[in-house]
């Protein structure tokens, strides 16, 4: 019987060890997947029972969790109201989270693996773990200037530090007050949410990142870059610039927005064509360069790439399978070319940075619950768009736009400013989108910016300068500390 008893004992112990192996699998390996099951209410309960970390701009919290006396222990509070809604998004017990509140949730909720040591300390003290904090790259003055400029309009502003890719301003209008959605009162929250969702102006849409529109004449920067990079053109190259040209294989004519020729004898230079935003010269140039060269240049600036800042931006797009007429239209940012405000800011930033495109980012630091720095953001180069020499050429061409061309409203006294206006036709009959993108340098400080006003202007090129450029100017001044 001895042998049988030994075997039975071994088998029983084996069964218990099997239990240990099974719970190890569940609690360690399967745990992450179980936590992400949609029906798992513990995740939400956990999040509400621990203090969610703040979102900081400089040393100021633009989102923090305040202790309350009701069942959900903390109330998410946004002291700046709607000013940072495009950045923070909202954090609602019913409607979930958006923007940074969603994409940085692991850190804010304290679930991130970087908090392992913190969590262990809190575990030993038998305390509830608190969430970590994030510090943003946002410049509060630039953000305020952007929101002030957008007040009462529909559009977006993006400002970037060209040397790092750090986002200095990210604004969308109309905006909303995230405090109303993080409320603990389900009825008022539902009223607010329904109102926001049914609003034709879509206040919760992040127009800076999620909305890709035809970039209009601001896209001529890409066409000019492609021309310079081809080696066949310089800024002084003479191009045809008649008042209108007939598009190949089509009965349509393309007009200049002035209705006049771009220079004497229907000729102009590349630099002059950019300064006065000559459609016919750029359409001709686009056809000469070909769709492939335009697309490849656009890609180098970031078109057709996905950027997570950490919110994922909509892809900007240069269309494929173009015939000659479509290539001509695409070269001036019409037809199916689509760009986000972020993308057009990146074009200016890349030119201002000597031809190196930096990947945009919004979070500069990850901090522990006690605000000790856990990680600093490292700028990442996306790639080179143009050679350093061509970047310098493009910079001086963009300065001509501001100093003697269509972008005069972006001038800042004592500061080098370059830019490009744009007015993009939308659907026939509806007002065009007004664009401005540019950069400014003061000492070693640089800023690049893009402003888009959706259906903002009239049909004329003037609206880019009239409406968008002053906003860009204000944001650049704020970013430069003026």
């Amino acid at each position: 019987m001895m042998r049988q008893m030994n075997r039975v004992t071994g088998a029983l112990i084996f069964l218990i060890l099997l239990l240990i192996a099974n719970v190890s699998y569940i609690q360690v390996f399967e745990a992450k997947q179980l936590r992400s099951e949609p029906g798992n209410q513990r995740v939400l309960l956990n999040e509400y029972s621990r203090q969610r970390g703040p979102i900081l701009v400089g040393s100021k919290s633009i989102a923090y969790s305040a202790e309350t006396s009701d069942a959900l222990k903390y109330l998410r509070t946004y002291p700046e109201g709607s000013a940072y809604a495009a950045v923070t998004g909202f954090y609602s017990q019913v409607y979930g989270a958006t923007a940074l509140e969603q994409s940085e949730n692991d850190i804010l909720a304290g679930n991130d693996s970087r908090f392992f040591v913190n969590r262990l300390q809190q575990l030993l003290a038998n305390r509830k773990p608190a969430g970590g904090a994030i510090r943003l790259t946002i410049n509060a003055a630039a953000q305020q200037a952007a929101m002030r400029g957008l007040a009462g309009r529909t559009g977006a502003v993006v400002a970037i530090d060209p040397t790092t890719g750090a986002l200095l301003a990210l604004a969308s209008s109309p905006s909303f007050d995230p405090n109303l959605l993080s409320s603990h009162d389900p009825n008022s929250m539902q009223t607010t949410y329904d109102k926001l969702m049914n609003d034709p102006q879509q206040p919760t849409l992040n127009r800076a990142l999620a909305m890709a529109l035809p970039p209009g004449s601001t896209f001529k920067l890409v066409t000019a870059a492609a021309a310079l990079e081809s080696g066949r053109y310089s800024m002084h190259s003479v191009l045809p610039g008649p008042a209108r040209i007939k598009l190949p294989q089509s009965s349509h004519y393309l007009n200049n927005w002035t209705g006049a020729a771009c220079g004497p004898n229907n000729k102009t230079t590349l630099a002059h064509a950019l300064a006065i935003s000559c459609n016919t010269a750029f359409a001709w140039l686009g056809m000469k360069l070909g769709a492939e060269a335009l697309r490849s240049q656009a890609k180098k600036f970031g078109f057709d790439s996905s950027f997570t800042v950490p919110m994922t931006a909509a892809d900007s797009h240069f269309p494929s399978n173009l015939d000659q007429a479509q290539t001509a239209m695409s070269a001036i940012g019409q037809f199916d070319v689509k760009a986000t405000a972020l993308q057009m800011a990146m074009v200016s930033a890349s030119i201002a940075n000597g031809g190196v495109t930096m990947s945009p980012y919004l979070v500069s630091q990850i901090l522990g619950p006690d605000l000790n720095t856990l990680q600093n953001a490292a700028p990442i180069a996306f790639g080179r768009s143009v050679s350093a020499k061509n970047a310098t050429t493009l910079q001086s061409m963009m300065m001509d736009v501001v100093n003697s061309g269509t972008g005069s409203n972006a001038k800042i006294f004592g500061v080098k400013v370059g830019g490009k206006t744009g007015t993009a036709q939308n659907a026939p009959g509806s007002p065009a989108h007004a664009w401005f993108t540019g950069w400014a340098k003061s000492g070693s400080t640089r800023v690049a910016v893009a402003v888009v006003l959706q259906n903002g202007g009239g049909a004329r090129e003037i609206s880019g300068n009239g409406l968008a450029a002053p906003i860009a100017r204000a944001v650049m001044r704020a970013a430069l500390g003026q």
Partner: protein, 474 residues
């Protein structure tokens, strides 16, 4: 617990004193007392942590906790007096499990009262004090067993009595008027306002019956009639008892809807039959019977089919039949490696957290680390029980001890395996942890018998042999 260095000990706990060539036997009762106090303190500490983290100021339980501690000391004294050579680790192990179970039941009581306050409904009576009362009753019966059963071999006289009592208890819930249906299972009786699960005591009585019965028949059972495919099969008429038991287990399933007890009894008898006969063929026949019974049950009963389909895919029916197991898995996942800490998880979200699902409650708040430690305590209990079984010198003692150990081990596996989705879920209590008086009392009786047997296994030869002459086998 580094109390032993095996190389200096002979089987049975005898130490050779080389200088004098004599046996010097250590009883190690002091270690038992120290471990017992340690177990009690861990339980009290857990209780205090629960109060602190849930901010419940009432330490109303302290008198009960003190009396539990007092009873544990009395149990120790009873062992010291009546079974001085008994295994010193068994009682502290189960006491620790019992104390941890109390702390978790206390924690769930608090969660239930918080929920009641939030819903504006009356605050339910805490269960933990009733469980403490049952712990005291269990320990008193433990002491009574240690004192009155001075030799386990006496029990062999009651082989058939135990058999009748066991089967009687098993089917008591079917008696009209006292039987109760709880959660679809007819396993409860209620007499004078007290509810009791007689099946818990039945497994004890039936283990005594199997041990006595198999000791008498073991030679017959070991007889070989023919060999098939390398396995030696017993004579057909000897298969009778196994078939009878198979029928009993199946009846439990059919009439009481108690999948867990049915599985446990069948597994227990198979193991004991195998040990008694030494033939693997019994295990093979049992497996076939289990498969036949299992698939018949699957086809015949909706509730068995539901259990099975929930086991295969609980998530597609997470808000229906799979709710319990899915919540249990969520709880375990929430605990992760280190757990949320006492009072800081949400074990109250799992239905039956105090009874069947107490393991997932502990896994959530103590994490994998704590749950593994608890499971390792069961390993120690099994190993110590088996050591008593192997060390004792009579066949009845061997079989009884291995049977009792199997009951504890198998029940632990069936219930914890069920709530962690290793095997289909069957309702059983987790020994010593779960809320439930019948289970706690029955398990303390099992430990009392194992301690009694371990005493005779480790007592010096002269003492043990003296005892043998005074007991005649039936």
């Amino acid at each position: 617990m580094s109390v032993e260095s095996e190389d200096t000990w002979l089987p049975g706990g005898h130490q050779v004193n080389a200088a004098f060539g004599q046996y010097k036997v250590s009883t190690r009762r002091g270690i038992e007392l120290a471990l017992l106090m340690g177990a009690w303190l861990i339980g009290v500490f857990a209780w205090v942590l629960v109060d602190v983290t849930t901010q419940s100021t009432s330490l109303a339980g302290w008198t009960s906790l003190l009396s539990a501690g007092l009873l544990l000391v009395l149990a120790h004294l009873a062992v010291r007096w009546q079974a001085p050579y008994a295994d010193p680790v068994l009682l502290p192990c189960v006491a620790l499990l019992n104390m941890l179970g109390l702390a978790m039941i206390h924690r769930l009581d608090i969660a239930n009262s918080v929920r009641a306050v939030a819903n504006g409904s009356p605050i339910p009576t805490p269960d933990v004090y009733l469980q403490l009362t049952w712990m005291v009753i269990g320990l008193i019966l433990f002491i009574a067993t240690i004192v009155t059963v001075s030799d386990h071999r006496v029990l062999a006289r009651f082989t058939f009595t135990s058999g009748f009592v066991g089967v009687g208890l098993l089917f008591l819930p079917l008696v009209p008027g006292i039987g109760n249906v709880v959660n679809g299972g007819r396993l409860w009786i209620s007499v004078l306002g007290f509810t009791f699960q007689p099946g818990e005591l039945a497994k004890l009585a039936l283990t005594i019956f199997f041990a006595g019965f198999l000791v008498q028949r073991r030679h017959a059972l070991a007889t070989v009639s023919r060999k098939v495919a390398g396995l030696e099969f017993p004579r057909a008429r000897n298969v009778g008892p196994l078939l009878l038991l198979w029928l009993v287990a199946l009846l439990v399933l059919v009439l009481e809807h108690d999948l867990g007890t049915s599985l446990l009894l069948f597994g227990l008898f198979t193991v004991m039959l195998y040990v008694a006969s030494g033939r693997r063929s019994w295990a093979a026949i049992s497996s076939v019977l289990l498969l036949v019974g299992g698939s018949a049950a699957y086809h015949a009963f909706g509730h068995v089919r539901i259990r099975f389909s929930v086991w295969i895919d609980p998530f597609s029916q997470a808000s229906g039949d799979g709710f319990q197991i899915v919540q249990s898995l969520y709880g375990l996942a929430n605990g992760g490696l280190f757990g949320t800490g006492w009072g800081q998880g949400y074990p109250q979200l799992v239905p039956f957290a105090k009874t069947d699902f107490i393991t997932s409650a502990l896994g959530e708040e103590l994490g994998l680390v704590g749950l593994s430690a608890i499971l390792m305590i069961y390993v120690i209990v099994i190993e110590r029980g088996a050591r008593a079984a192997i060390g004792t010198r009579d066949a009845f003692g061997n079989l009884l001890a291995i049977g009792l150990t199997t009951v504890l081990g198998l029940q632990t596996f069936i219930v914890i395996g069920g709530v962690t989705r290793l095997i289909p879920l069957t309702g059983l209590t987790t020994p010593f942890l779960s809320y439930g008086g019948s289970s706690l009392v029955a398990n303390y009786l099992i430990i009392a018998l194992l301690i009694r047997i371990s005493h005779s296994a480790r007592a010096p030869q002269e003492l043990a042999e003296g005892a043998i002459t005074t007991v005649s086998m039936p």
